[in-house]
């Protein structure tokens, strides 16, 4: 269908956020981003959206781990412990390749885990796969 795909990007580094949005622009004209820069605000925003109803929810969440206030692992835990929010695909996109971050993310049902940095061409390819896999409807 022709509806907008809403992506919540939780990323505190503006430059990184810009790159992600740029990468998606080329492969997904219907994608609209909301950027939140800390974990606590992300959790609050998602709780608000959950109360408003299904149509307020993002179609996809892209989540960094190193975030101010509450980190991405905590945000992921909150998301996946909710029946409504838990069904939203969550892509971890982070600088961390620490085993504990990877394992913890999958244990808490992250849909996938990708490490930065990515060259723009790779980021675009990744954005395309993400869009084709998780934003089809």
């Amino acid at each position: 269908m022709n509806d907008v795909k809403k992506i919540l990007l939780v990323e505190d580094r503006e430059a990184d956020a810009r790159l992600v949005i740029e990468a998606f622009k080329g492969v997904c004209s219907k994608c609209e981003f909301e950027v939140i820069q800390d974990g606590e605000s992300a959790i609050n925003a998602l709780s608000q959206k959950e109360l408003k109803g299904k149509t307020s929810l993002p179609d996809l969440i892209i989540l960094d781990i190193k975030l101010p206030k509450r980190n991405g692992r905590e945000v992921l835990k909150e998301i996946k412990s909710s029946v409504t929010l838990g069904a939203i695909p969550v892509i971890m996109l982070t600088n961390s390749d620490a085993r504990e971050d990877i394992l913890d993310s999958y244990e808490h049902m992250a849909n996938t885990y990708i490490t930065k940095p990515l060259a723009m061409a790779d980021l675009i390819e990744t954005a395309k796969f993400i869009k084709d896999t998780w934003l089809k409807k």
Partner: protein
């Protein structure tokens, strides 16, 4: 390069062949085990019976419409079992029915991909899945 072990749960020999073909074309080196029904998939993952020496897969490619136990039941069982709960599950199914998709995500499949009808597109899709999951993604490989 670390070796990847895959479990393909697929009852249609033609689709198994297409997945194998896709693998050969990407040149990505992976050990693939194949089982043809949901019950065998669960026994493989739990190392039960004839599967007592089965390797723990790093990734599962899972059809939904399977004999004995269906794909949704397999997802549920994997997620409920501590040792294997975090193995990424990629559903690769003929069904594009919304209830099937929603149920798979509800049970925490990592992603859901509908098999294309055309053989060439099927192979391309599997190649893209491999490239993404085996090259781009960090998998929760243990040890």
């Amino acid at each position: 390069m670390t070796e990847i072990t895959l479990l393909l749960v697929e009852d249609k020999p033609s689709d198994v062949r297409l997945v194998m073909e896709a693998f050969k074309e990407t040149g990505i080196h992976a050990n693939m085990s194949v089982v043809g029904n949901g019950e065998d998939a669960i026994n493989f993952l739990l190392k039960k019976g004839q599967y007592s020496d089965a390797p723990r897969p790093d990734l599962i490619l899972l059809d939904l419409k399977l004999p004995k136990k269906n794909g949704h039941e397999v997802i549920k069982k994997v997620r409920e079992t501590d040792d294997i709960s975090l193995i990424p599950i990629i559903v690769l199914s003929n069904s594009d029915a919304e209830p099937d998709i929603q149920k798979a995500y509800k049970y925490q499949a990592n992603c859901y991909i509908t098999k294309p009808f055309k053989m060439s597109e099927f192979v391309e899709t599997v190649k893209l899945i491999e490239k993404f999951w085996l090259n781009r993604v960090k998998l929760p490989k243990n040890k």
